[in-house]
């Protein structure tokens, strides 16, 4: 690196940094350790647990992982399994695959068709949670919903989306909701590929699928990894399905974020809620570390 003149003296720089640092320490670093501490207590909002929380050791964790209840509906294990399905099908398969497909479909095309489809996807992505939740509750309604109108128009039987196949419903919803991010990321990745790479392939007579598999995908590999990890993190932590299903029927769509909410803020059992929160944060940490190590390895090879 060339020798550069210092523009901002260290002391002034730290002064500029201080207010943001205070916020980060108070609202991100401190809560991380706080949740760990609370998860070993019986802290609650009201009653004895609020005034004099006791240290209860691993009780909260042992209850979460109690083998006899672990996989029962409404319990931690069952919730984790639902979350895994939700993340796998709506984020990794739904959003990422559809996003890639859309980016590829409109690659090197500038037209009103591209503008229209991309804008619609972006609108689905940016409008407020409660609004999309209303729209989807109506869309999936058994008797009057648009989706069942479409299904019956094609000669099929009505489907009871929210009661019969609730997990499929929130997977469809989350795919619809979040695809725009992957689409935009992959579009910008495709835009960075030098055209000469593809022209060579065209001369040798490669078809569209071969070009995608042999040239495009390897070139945007790091973008794909970035995308997969970010949407996994977001989908793992999202609370929005609650606004459509409330976690039901009978806990069947209770992903871990909804379980945490129920334990911590409906029952006000902060100790147990913190234990779940702690495990969620550790899972987040694992995702984030994988992401950062991949990111750094990429920079190392450059």
């Amino acid at each position: 690196m060339p020798e550069r003149r210092t523009i901002l003296p260290l002391r002034t720089g730290l002064l500029f940094l201080a207010p943001a640092a205070a916020f980060v320490v108070a609202f991100i670093v401190l809560p991380f350790f706080w949740v760990a501490v609370v998860s070993f207590t019986n802290r609650s909002l009201t009653g004895l647990g609020a005034l004099h929380p006791h240290f209860v050791g691993l009780t909260n964790y042992l209850r979460l992982f109690n083998p006899s209840t672990f996989l029962q509906p409404g319990q931690f294990g069952s919730s984790l399994l639902i979350t895994a399905q939700f993340v796998l099908f709506s984020a990794l398969i739904g959003q990422a695959a559809l996003g890639l497909l859309l980016a590829w479909l409109f690659y090197r095309r500038e037209s009103w068709v591209k503008e229209t489809v991309q804008t619609l996807a972006i609108v689905a992505w940016i409008i407020p949670d409660v609004v999309v939740a209303f729209a989807w509750s109506a869309f999936l309604d058994y008797g009057q919903g648009t989706l069942n109108h479409i299904v019956t128009a094609f000669g099929f039987h009505r489907v009871d989306w929210l009661l019969g196949v609730p997990v499929l419903s929130i997977i469809l919803f989350n795919t619809w909701r979040g695809t725009a991010f992957s689409m935009l990321l992959f579009s910008s990745a495709l835009g960075s590929i030098p055209p000469s790479h593809l022209e060579t392939a065209e001369v040798t007579g490669a078809n569209a699928w071969q070009k995608l598999r042999d040239i495009i995908l390897p070139l945007i590999r790091t973008h794909i990894v970035t995308d997969l990890i970010l949407i996994t993190l977001w989908t793992f932590n999202t609370f929005t399905p609650f606004l459509i299903t409330g976690g039901g029927p009978a806990f069947r769509t209770e992903v871990v974020s909804i379980l945490t909410y129920r334990i911590a803020f409906k029952y006000f059992n902060f100790g147990s809620g913190s234990a779940i929160g702690m495990i969620m944060m550790l899972i987040n940490l694992a995702f984030a570390l994988i992401y950062l190590s991949l990111l750094r390895r990429r920079e190392g090879t450059r």
Binding site: R5, L105, P128, F134, G145
Partner: protein, 276 residues
């Protein structure tokens, strides 16, 4: 043969594009029609009879009006000002001051903020706001949103600041400007597009945010629109469709307007962090 293939490819392209357009648009069509329908139900249909009375009834609900035109604006606007100001200062320092390990710091920030997030972070954040005595205050909501959004905002801003040539500031230094004066007169005007992007991004995030105010606020007088929308429910707990959809539309318009503004002014694309 070649012509046939071209026609088939084109047709397949348009069919696929139409299918995807429908996939994204159809779930929202109901939301466009129902607010103008005097007898709206959950089905999509042209408004019949067409009416604007639903909006009149929404405006007659003082609680919901206050939520939308006062509380949501205070909370989203407050967080927007705080995040933009603090992120700009911090990003400028991280870019221009000789702080040791500043890249590690940036990484650590992103790492931590992607861990302490969502519902899991809400338990300790609730306890923090509780012990600060800020439960059921708009300030509490603003602080929690600011803390959560700052790391990403700093990341975006730093990318902007790093892309500015240092020569302007260097010549200002030669002519004897103070650090603060140089920041105010030289750097701020140049990073303004970045600040706009961060401001809009923060505003839209807080405006649409449901969970934080839902957990931290108690009294109706403080609720933002995202929570107040549930006031258009019957006693039995089902939504009054004409009013919820009319309110939804009013509540969504600012987000769409900001999107159109950013798209027109800067082009809607990715900044910082996620580029190549």
């Amino acid at each position: 043969m070649r012509l046939l293939r071209l026609v088939v490819t084109r047709a397949a392209f348009y069919a696929a594009a139409a299918l995807f357009a429908c996939f994204f648009a159809v779930p929202l069509v109901w939301l466009l029609f129902a607010p103008f329908d005097a007898r709206a139900n959950l089905a999509v249909r042209l408004p019949h009879p067409f009416t604007l009375a639903n909006f009149g009834k929404v405006f007659a609900n003082a609680f919901a009006v206050r939520a939308l035109f006062q509380n949501s604006i205070i909370q989203a606007g407050g967080a927007m000002l705080l995040v933009t100001l603090l992120a700009t200062l911090a990003a400028y320092a991280l870019s221009r001051a000789p702080i040791r390990g500043k890249d590690m710091l940036s990484y650590g920030l992103v790492l931590f903020s992607s861990i302490v997030t969502g519902t899991a972070a809400m338990v300790p954040l609730f306890l923090l706001i509780y012990s600060l005595g800020l439960i059921d205050t708009q300030l509490g909501v603003i602080l929690v949103f600011t803390g959560g959004l700052l790391p990403a905002a700093i990341f975006i801003m730093r990318d902007f600041v790093d892309s500015i040539p240092r020569s302007y500031e260097e010549s200002a230094l030669v002519s004897g400007a103070s650090a603060w004066g140089m920041f105010r007169d030289i750097a701020l005007p140049i990073v303004r597009p970045g600040m706009m992007v961060v401001a809009v991004w923060t505003f839209v995030n807080v405006w649409g945010g449901f969970f934080v105010p839902f957990i931290l606020l108690r009294s109706p007088a403080n609720m933002p629109a995202s929570v107040a929308i549930y006031s258009f429910y019957t006693e039995g707990g089902t939504p009054i469709i004409t009013l919820t959809t009319a309110y939804s539309l009013l509540y969504t318009i600012p987000v769409l307007a900001l999107y159109l503004f950013v798209n027109w002014r800067y082009g809607f694309r990715f900044f910082g962090g996620i580029k190549s």
